[in-house]
Symmetry: C2
């Protein structure tokens, strides 16, 4: 039998769009001779639909989409992910399910048992776990269909106390199919290949795996759907960060005509680059906006964001606003203009002196001659915030935030100032990675000006300011942050790795003290296993350990 | 035997403080002749500790606190809530548990089975559900100890498929004790009495229930611990919004010396008032701040927040900043000054004209003579945001946000402008409730100026502007919002209740379009069953249904 995997980009809640796309691919699969076409987890409504799932109307619309899709399953069967009602009176109201549809009818309903509820996942908020399991019988074969996490519980410290496949295997299936919504991080593609390979081998069954692709606000799905033989050898790997569509011949209990291949090893920074470009593009496409605006300082962060935005949206749709102050160095404007010229985006230059002077005057009576401090520094950042937001409000541009993960971590950013924006493009990319990203962007010719890369980082909010005045070297800082944020190590454990105790404590204290700022930050495109935002939920008012 | 309930206010992660408080109350209970003292769910670390629970160091410190507490349990036993490690290799790493400690040793470990994961709750993110249940034997009696949600699964559409008490009852217990962290909403105290009464009656056992009290950022615990007889009659109700401590005599399988009483019926608005005052007070106390600053417009919202802040922190710790523009009416300043004089807080007057003029000039080339619109309106709000934040940065005041729930719902607020602040005091209080709150504050004499209450609401961002220019009457608006936000009704269902279709669609569209703003809002003190913030998780980029 011929089985098609459709790796598609869905829009959350856009039933007309998703349904049409699914039907188009059913028709295409049928035209290409397929017997079965497989779509991803919760394909009908998009993932993650969050509290939309708590609206009865939303669930009814999912069911209506399935009815529409079913009309196109004559001569071809399909598998689609869909949230369905729990008809029992006890338990949560929904299941995360899949329909197997054939000849216009739902022949099987498969329910998910293992509901991820860590990091960005909240599935147990909505869904009741499945407790019974059945294979799908199709054309004389038995298919063990599982949904994402149901095939991920294979390791020495499993998160769940049961494995759905341990039940399904008793029914002697011929093939495993797993439908997923498995988000990108720069580590995740390798883990995915390894885990699924282990499952195929463990159960001694060929495995077809289909993922979603596309960004949903902060969450980026990278595609990379996979085929394995029964010994866990990788046979095929679909495209990353793009929609894709493949037909596999499954005969004699084997995926035919495919030989073992190696998993494509792509450098982390190249993956992050592609993920961020897709993240920007889908944010705009799916919310119906075309044009972006950002503050361009001459530094490396805003230069990188500007370059990524131009790749995602086209330079004609990107407006860079240069907002020099009396503390801006000449090279800042020059470096920013070099980027604008390299890249061909639009720009405005609006010096901020008139507004900062106005605030100095207005606040003079209240400030009673107290010395220049963080208050005046923040006024500059906030005046820039007002200007960028004014451009947004006047022309309908969407503001891109340019804060990196290192500064987001330690609170080295001004709330309502440089922390403005609808989407934080590089908020999950450490400063040391930003340099790599700039080099990667420049690999086929200079885009990011060499001087923006080479000069010491500075916020330029007071004379001769350098980031290194208040922050440790980024090289040290980022390593400590990784231990604390990603790996949740204690200060003692980090010190044991050879970092200076005082430095570790200072960094951790900065991270903790900035929790209130991060609570009000823009959504951050997630590219690491632990991004700030919905995946990291820390108390604001609390006593922290360090 | 004498059983004490200790209804206390904990600080998340402050092990030294929580441990000392628990030990102090053990000593007090012992001195007063008690045999057993009962503390709330997760008392050792505070609730909700969020992702602190994922740090090994945090869990180790919980265990150390328990060891310290155990040293004081000679001659008196205690029950404390504590997160503990799951020693099995399969399943989540932790249990939400309680220790029964006697003579220096943990005699029983009780684990929670039903893990709330809706609204503000994320317990399945951290905890493995219990699957075995045992009573505590103490002084010849069997105590069925359950943790919060474990006793809440009694209704016709239960959220969970099992009830721990159905297992425990087989062991023929003499008494039920439930330890909780049950947050306030203006509906919740009634539900709590009803549900627990039903449980006592159903299992035909007396019931002692102890709750936490105090605010943890947005979540407010209201206390109100309870005692019931075996027929579900309420026997005692501890204080609301205050720490409390009571000793009960349990002899002959009865709570002695108590007669059935009625649950105290307190008007919603009085409860909301007390909750908000506690919410402000604990935000400051627990984060070590003393002084607040807010923008005071002369309107009712900021007046109410100012009055609540003065009650929570003392008027000497509240700074009101009056920031008139050319669109401000004379009465705005007069009304604001009336409040300042009524209440005795500090104030500054800083007209915003100089800054708004500066922005007009600076933006003139980019704006190319385009007409006044939302861009200029927002600049005024953002200039005020900068001024209030500058006062905060210069003097260390914490900014109180003054947005109400109605405007937060429909996006009638300026991001980085009037949406600034560390904590949103009335962000869960609809505009129609704000009027009631103002009347309540004025019940013993005028605090909120009559004119602030009587005049038509206006943002005063353009000449003769009224809220009613762009918003429906608050009376209609708030009713529609309640249906959509709290009750998750579809537009059709709301129209069926007699609201005009066009109006309903317009309101829902406004709510949906403001999702990106609410994502960046300050934490909101939660007083309703469905507040904006962590309890309502909606996609940002998505196609909404209306």
């Amino acid at each position: 039998m011929k089985i098609t995997l459709a790796q598609l980009n869905y829009t959350i809640g856009d039933f007309a769009y998703n349904t049409k796309k699914i039907i188009d691919y059913i028709i295409r699969a049928k035209n290409e001779g397929a017997d079965l076409v497989v779509f991803a987890e919760l394909a009908v409504c998009g993932y993650p639909a969050h509290d939309f799932l708590e609206f009865d109307e939303f669930i009814d619309l999912c069911e209506k989409s399935a009815e529409e899709i079913a009309k196109h399953t004559f001569g071809i069967a399909c598998i689609i992910g869909i949230p369905i009602k729990n008809e029992q009176s006890a338990g949560k109201d929904l299941y995360n399910a899949a329909y197997f549809i054939e000849e216009g009818n739902v022949r099987n309903i498969i329910k998910k048992a293992l509901l991820p509820n860590y990091d960005i996942f909240d599935e147990y908020r909505y869904f009741e776990p499945a407790i019974s399991f059945n294979c799908i019988e199709f054309k004389g074969k038995k298919i063990a269909l599982t949904i994402c996490e149901d095939l991920w519980n294979i390791n020495s410290n499993p998160l769940y106390i049961s494995n759905p496949m341990d039940e399904l295997i008793k029914q002697k299936p011929d093939l495993m199919i797993n439908i997923a919504a498995s988000p990108f991080s720069y580590l995740h593609d390798d883990e995915r290949v390894e885990t699924l390979s282990k499952s195929a081998k463990h159960y001694q069954l060929p495995l077809l795996y289909v993922n979603q692709v596309g960004a949903q606000t902060e969450i980026i799905f990278d595609g990379g759907s996979l085929a394995f033989d029964k010994d866990g050898n990788l046979l095929d790997e679909m495209m990353y960060f793009k929609e894709d569509f493949k037909i596999y011949e499954f005969t004699d209990n084997k995926l035919q005509g495919l030989n073992p291949i190696n998993h494509q090893i792509v450098p982390d920074i190249a993956q992050i680059h592609d993920a961020l470009v897709l993240g920007i593009k889908d944010y705009f496409d799916k919310s119906g906006f075309k044009k972006a605006v950002l503050g361009l300082s001459g530094g490396i962060d805003s230069a990188v964001v500007c370059a990524l935005a131009c790749r995602a949206l086209g330079p004609e749709n990107v407006m860079a606003v240069l907002m020099p102050s009396k503390y801006s160095t000449d090279h800042s404007i020059d470096d920013a203009m070099d980027l604008v010229n390299n890249i061909g985006c639009r720009h405005e230059i609006i010096p901020i002196k008139e507004a900062t002077d106005a605030f100095d005057n207005m606040l003079a009576p209240a400030f009673q001659g107290l010395p220049f401090n963080i208050a005046e520094e923040n006024i500059q950042a906030r005046v820039r915030g007002i200007l960028v937001m004014a451009m947004s409000n006047k022309f309908g541009y969407i503001v891109l935030n340019t804060s990196n993960k290192s500064e987001c971590a330690v609170g080295y950013g001004t709330l309502y100032g440089d922390m403005c924006g609808a989407i934080a493009v590089i908020g999950d990319v450490y400063k040391t990675q930003i340099y790599q990203l700039a080099q990667f962007i420049n690999k086929d010719g200079i885009v990011i000006p060499v001087n923006s890369i080479a000069k010491p980082p500075s916020a330029e909010l007071r004379p001769d300011q350098k980031d290194s005045d208040s922050l440790p070297d980024y090289d040290q800082l980022d390593k400590i942050l990784l231990q604390y944020v990603e790996l949740k190590k204690s200060s003692d454990a980090i010190v044991e790795q050879g970092f200076q105790e005082e430095l570790v404590k200072r960094v951790i204290k900065m991270v903790n003290s900035a929790e209130f700022k991060r609570h009000q930050t823009a959504p951050i495109l997630r590219v690491s296993p632990k991004a700030f935002g919905m995946g990291r939920r820390m108390p604001i008012v609390a006593k922290y350990l360090s």
